[in-house]
Amino acid sequence: MERKYTLLAIFLIVLALGLVILPKKNELKETDPKALLSSVVEKSRYLTVDQITHRIIENDPTLMLIDLRSADQFKIFSLPGSLNILTDSLLTRANMELFNQPGKDKILYGNADLMAEKAWLLCSRYALNRIYVMKGGMNEWFNTFVKEKLLTGTPSTSDLDLISFRKAARQFLIGSGETGNASATTPAIEKVQVIRKAPKAAAGGGC
């Protein structure tokens, strides 16, 4: 190898070694209280259930759903691809690595907003980025996608589009539109008696 290339190789190794031996910066910094307060007031952390469901259906790889409800509730029903992390174990080492994943939008949700708001505040205090809250939690999701809302007045085109999207999303995510437990109480469908019409007499002639 030529001398200049040898020197260049040594320079690169020294640079790379420098990165390894440099003292580590404390990555888990607390957010400045003023910045935290302004982010609490700001509402950009909220994502609607429609926005999130759209991203689930689109199979968005940047989406990371975090279900903060109990393990029992999580087993009964949760949004596809969700991880079950309880609020008291939110800041464990393993979970912090999860939250520190670059390029991921971490969406927190509980049954309502309270639990997700608490978790969001904890994460924001530790300056974790791209943390969002699903507005209204699972209650809102259920009311939007499982319960059919009746339209009043003349719906606009965008309303109709939204309703058809919700219907499609319900089919996509929970099939028949009923949750697993609800289906147990559904009465058996009565067999419809088919009454066949007697064949008409053949028309005479024709055109």
């Binding site: 190794i13 390894v20 790889p61």
Partner: protein, 197 residues
Amino acid sequence: MIGSIISSGVISPAWDNFFAVILGMGFGFALEASGFSSSRKIIGTFFGYDFVVVKVFFTAAIVASLGLLYFSYLGLLDFSTLYIQPTFLTSAIVGGIIMGIGFAMGGFCPGTSLCATAVGRLDGLVFFGGMFIGVFLFSEAFPLFESIYNSGSEGAKMVNTVFGISPELFTFFLVLAAIGMFAGAGWVQKRVKKVEY
């Protein structure tokens, strides 16, 4: 870097296309200056008489890695605002095999074929045309490939997290691997018959 500047509000996202063109021109110039518009030079990697392709790409990888980590350490860049291309393992493997075959057969990859076309090379133009026919056919037949296209989603995965090591240590190993590869390539090149082109 652009993402960081734009997301921090220093530069408006309306400048996206402007920077894309400037960076594209810079990239094209670097490719042409490295001799990447010659398919014979590129194909030399497969026959062992010219390793400029791997040398240039390894150099780019280690310079970018070192630069990003030092900038991040000095607080000049927020690592978390960088866009990480999500990994789709199955489609990456299938696509990689197809691209590798196309690379070995045609002597170009998409970027270098554009570079060759820009300097008026006929083989580059043919490759470029073929690439567009391929893109058209793929787009038309997309429903057939959709399941493969979306399969093996791993999210925005980093190699160092797979190995469970820090990005700094991974970069150190990458630099060692690159230097080892440079030396190995030089050793092979000396033993392979030179090709004039």
